[in-house]
């Protein structure tokens, strides 16, 4: 049976690979032949290699309800967090459906990681009871379906670092336990096999840390030790996957005025962060400024790299609507993005996917 009547297979495929991922569900529902086609790994590979893959940032973002009372636009932040998607090339925003068990919204402080076309949602606090959860939920953006993963092993873990290696695995590291003790443990989740494995422990506990892949290694950046709670320590530990070992603790990886939460890894083994009013990049052992932040972005909520650009979301002031900007990394030029009110809420975590 032909994919599209009258067309050679390869041309019919060339048409279907251009369909937006939001339509994959429609395409799969047309007939069995189309469903089989969309689910083939070869279909997704061809999509990406021919440049039709869609580059998106998925975020755990607060819902916003505009309050038009007194004739003024005031954004009342609704406590429920949901999943929003920003598409880099079309500058479109949309919302994803939540899992059936998430009737009150996403778990608070959950972490997101993107693996292939799977979005992995880990941990967080139940939005109703505030109980810490180690649950793993996975949303597939192609089939538009949710499934459960095996829970994160060990006791309750909050404010951990979480990142995908873009090769099927999600790394989870640090955070703190029920007694607010910073954790030294780290683990790895194989999304396809739905299996967890422990990594060796780090040299010290890392709470509220950021996890990134930089210079070929998995880095845990910034933390504060339990005994010095309330003060950020500037240190990093790097894990070499090849040798399965942690390296020496690198102190002073960060400088004053840097928040590890804004640290992101980019193309060509670059790493970027916010420092004061600047975007900085690591050049050898020092941080160099590459651009000044737009005046509107006083509070930085979220930073992500997306195909040669830096997405920076922030607000002019506390509890004001968030605005998104793109920094083109080749030219260091800013573009203010149209951010509909519905997508101007606080972003607590996010990840990049190419579908």
């Amino acid at each position: 049976m032909e994919l599209i009547s009258g067309l050679p297979e390869d041309i019919a495929r060339d048409c279907l690979i251009r369909v937006s991922y939001e339509q994959f569900k429609t395409v799969s529902s047309v007939c069995k032949r189309w469903m089989k086609e969309v689910e083939l790994p070869e279909f997704r590979r061809l999509r990406k290699s021919s440049g039709h893959g869609q580059k998106v940032i998925v975020m755990a973002q607060a819902g916003v309800e505009p309050d038009w009372s007194f004739g003024l636009m005031k954004c009342m932040i609704h406590p429920a967090y949901r999943l929003t998607v920003y598409e880099s090339e079309t500058c479109n925003w949309r919302e994803l459906p939540l899992a059936p068990s998430m009737s009150s919204g996403l778990p608070m402080f959950c972490q997101l990681a993107g693996v292939g076309s799977d979005l992995v949602v880990m941990g967080g606090w139940d939005p109703e009871t505030w109980r810490v959860s180690n649950s793993v939920f996975i949303y597939n953006l192609v089939s538009a379906t949710w499934r459960h993963g095996v829970d994160m092993p060990g006791g309750p873990r909050t404010f951990f670092g979480c990142v995908s290696d873009q090769d099927g695995m999600v790394y989870v590291v640090g955070g703190h336990n029920g007694e607010k003790m910073a954790l030294r443990s780290a683990m790895i989740y194989d999304v396809a096999k739905d299996e967890w494995a422990m990594l060796p422990d780090m040299a010290m506990g890392h709470d509220e840390c950021k996890a990134i892949f930089y210079a070929g290694k998995f880095h845990v950046i910034g933390d504060y030790y339990t005994e010095k709670q309330g003060r950020f320590e500037r240190s990093t530990e790097a894990f070499d996957v090849a040798t399965w070992q942690w390296g020496h603790v690198e102190v002073d990886f960060l400088e004053d005025g840097m928040c590890s939460r804004t640290c992101v890894d980019g193309d060509d083994e670059a790493v970027y962060m916010c420092k004061g009013d600047d975007i900085v990049t690591k050049d050898g052992s020092t941080w160099q400024s590459i651009a000044k932040l737009p005046a509107e972005l006083c509070n930085i909520t979220y930073v992500a790299t997306c195909h040669g650009k830096l997405l920076v979301i922030g607000s002019p002031g506390f509890s004001q609507p968030n605005i998104a900007y793109n920094l083109e990394l080749k030219t260091n030029t800013w573009t203010r993005l149209e951010t509909p009110i519905k997508f101007s809420g606080h972003v607590q975590s996010g990840c990049y996917l190419e579908i």
């Binding site: 050679p8 041309i11 339509q23 007939c31 189309w34």
Partner: protein, 126 residues
Amino acid sequence: MKFCTVKQYFDDENNNNVTNGIATTVIPLPNKHLKIKANNKEMEQYEQELLRNVMPQELTKLILAANYLNFKEALDFFCRTVANAIQNKSVDYVRKFFGLESDFEPGEEEKLCKEFAWSFEGVDED
């Protein structure tokens, strides 16, 4: 390159691959494409016009013509048009447009509709 193939076509009187009608649409395309390359909005409008005025079977023939003429830009444009024909449309509309029929079991189809009802919300009117 494009004009060599077109010339060859006209020289070959026994060529059945491309009918006159299709050639009329495809051949003027390079000029239009070149003129409005910088203007995406006009290209979008041209695409909308094409989808409104050209039946799916005609679109298929246009694709085959562009492929035969080795006209990459036109092929790219038409393939994109086909993909956009599916944009925000219902499953029934897509089936009608491509002349396809559902071969799912009744139970399977119901399950698909139920599970993914949200993704069929807000689609355009057929």
